[in-house]
Symmetry: C2
Subunit: 354 residues, 2 copies
């Protein structure tokens, strides 16, 4: 197969980990007889520096034509003081919205050899395997008005949802639960918010079409607790944008290996943007020591979700697992016996295992 992939390195360690991804894509193409056309474009702080905007038109256009997009990370202290519409994060919010990538998939599953680094006790985190599905293009992060009022003496942000925005993400969640353990936890604040009451109604309506999926409703504050006390009680969790932002990041530290986690932001036709969960890590940028595995596993998600290349995805995931079993680790992975390697060396190890 021939696929068009846009690479958006972004800021900080973004360009270093993107190099690793390119090598893995090359290897997959060679081994499985595909051809991937890679095109690099600017986003975030890097785009601000070069084009005075975090999301240049050329980047949007290239992404619109792509079969899938791979992102490094955006943001950094350098751009923190800029006005709202000129911040690196606007590039990320913008590309999600422009492409209609409404479903953010955040798998949280530890690697046996890294679980000892979890902040949680082993018997608590053991066996956890969660897929958090966050609505990504609606709600408080996009609603208008979002402005100062009353001569700067008041401020308003708006949490707005269309029924169909809720319906499509909830459908996605039920479908995902079907492919896993048939259990769906819907998170809301229905005891206070009208938007949450509508959300809960739609979950109830939809559940009739998925009688094989067990549905549980959880208030967002209770969910924030249960993720820590009983992470192994979740299968698929679905929630709106802001709750999902907070809960998926909370969940991401549970396994003790944030640097390993991939994520996908997809829409219904299969097009998706893939990125590691970790940030741009400006403190170690340029040193060649960043952990490339979150990005490499994001490539695996891309192969699976956007290209239906299941065997290829599994091969990449297996190669990564083997690297860990062989004792290779980067400095973010709290490991003491094994071999500390650079970004490039870890990438080589993955390629050798493939």
């Amino acid at each position: 197969m021939n696929k068009q992939i846009v690479l958006l390195p972004g800021d900080g360690i973004g360009s270093e980990i993107m190099e690793s991804a390119e090598k893995v894509l090359d290897a997959v193409a060679g081994e499985f007889g595909h051809s991937f056309t890679l095109q690099e474009h600017a986003i975030g702080g890097a785009a601000i520096d070069q084009y005075d905007t975090p999301l240049p038109e050329t980047t949007i256009e290239a992404c619109q034509k792509a079969d899938a997009i791979l992102l490094g990370a955006v943001g950094g202290p350098k751009w923190d003081a800029l006005p709202a519409d000129k911040r690196p994060e606007k590039g990320l919010l913008g590309i999600r919205k422009e492409l209609g990538l409404f479903a953010n998939l955040r798998p949280v599953k530890g690697f046996p050899s890294l679980l000892h680094a979890s902040p949680l006790k082993e018997h608590i985190i053991d066996g956890s395997d969660i897929l958090i599905i966050r609505e990504l293009t609606g709600g408080l992060y996009f609603g208008k008005p979002s402005e100062r009022q009353n001569n700067g003496n008041a401020v308003v942000d708006t949490l707005h949802y269309h029924r169909d925005e809720m319906e499509r993400i909830i459908d996605k969640a039920f479908q995902s639960a079907r492919l896993r353990h048939h259990h769906l936890t819907s998170v809301d604040k229905a005891n206070v918010l009208e938007s949450s009451r509508m959300w809960r109604e739609i979950v109830e309506e939809k559940s009739k079409a998925y009688p094989d999926v067990v549905v549980e409703h959880l208030l967002v504050d209770a969910a924030a607790m249960k993720l820590i006390t009983q992470p192994d009680q979740f299968d698929v969790m679905v929630t709106e944008n802001m709750f999902g932002d907070i809960l998926s990041d909370e969940a991401s530290v549970l396994t003790g290996s944030l640097g390993m986690l991939p994520s996908a932001s997809v829409r219904s036709d299969g097009v998706g943007l893939y990125e590691p969960v970790h940030g741009s890590a400006p403190d170690i940028a340029g040193e060649g020591i960043a952990n490339p595995l979150g990005t490499i596993l994001s490539v695996a998600l891309m192969l699976r979700h956007s290209f239906q290349m299941e065997a290829e995805a599994a091969a990449v995931e297996r190669a990564v697992r083997e690297c860990l079993e062989q004792g290779y680790y980067t400095s973010d992975l709290h490991i003491t016996d094994g071999q500390l390697v650079s970004t490039a060396q870890m990438t080589e190890a993955v390629l050798e295992n493939m």
Copy 2:
């Protein structure tokens, strides 16, 4: 001193733990020569059953005349299907708003003898001592419009803040940091929300008046992670209503003894509403086995914050600590060697230690 206290037992285990609080207040009055006038009123589901509203006028009026209020808990499955304005939680939101209780204080500090029950590894939770300050009467949980629109095809909730609502809670936080370790973490989502950008500006402005307090800004998603990975790095945390709801509940399970945690909701003149952090626990209501210590420690907070009775508060807290050291525990406290006691027995033990 003579103080007027309104008791609001509420639902579930509320009335059982309220009895414990009454006994402790009696003991404090006797021992220290105070007189507390206690008046009981209805709120939540209990008020719905009796008066068809979660917050009767008589309750509001009594609370307005009180020096302090002690609440058990509200809510339960019995009232879950009622329309929005007839739900138990509306009573709680309503009394906070009616009395202007804008600052929710949520101390999170473990008891040495209970830390083994923490879901976190001991070296992670050890030494943590956090005061979370949540804005309680503004933001998304109170903003208008909060309604269906477009024939039920859309929905909106509104995050609204006045400048002075932000200023007073931020001032409160700086003052609290001064009384503790002079470190303040302000949590927002300034990379996306306009309300957060205003919040951050005000924190920066205010910080000039508190040069002895070190200020750190943290995005809400990063805060949700850091609470788990480095809880000992926080002193005072301040944030707006909804973020505070999620983060304070997240933090409440870190020490492994949710049933022990008190909370205070106060305003500037000292009037406050005190309540345990745990919920109404409908599953064990009426069995006489609920843990009364969170409520008893809420009484201690009341003595300290609303009545400036520091010695009295310390005496109550010491008595509670001693109960734990003596090995008494209720069924929610994951203890195996010691003496399992009922609500009444634990209360007796506290009284004996006083």
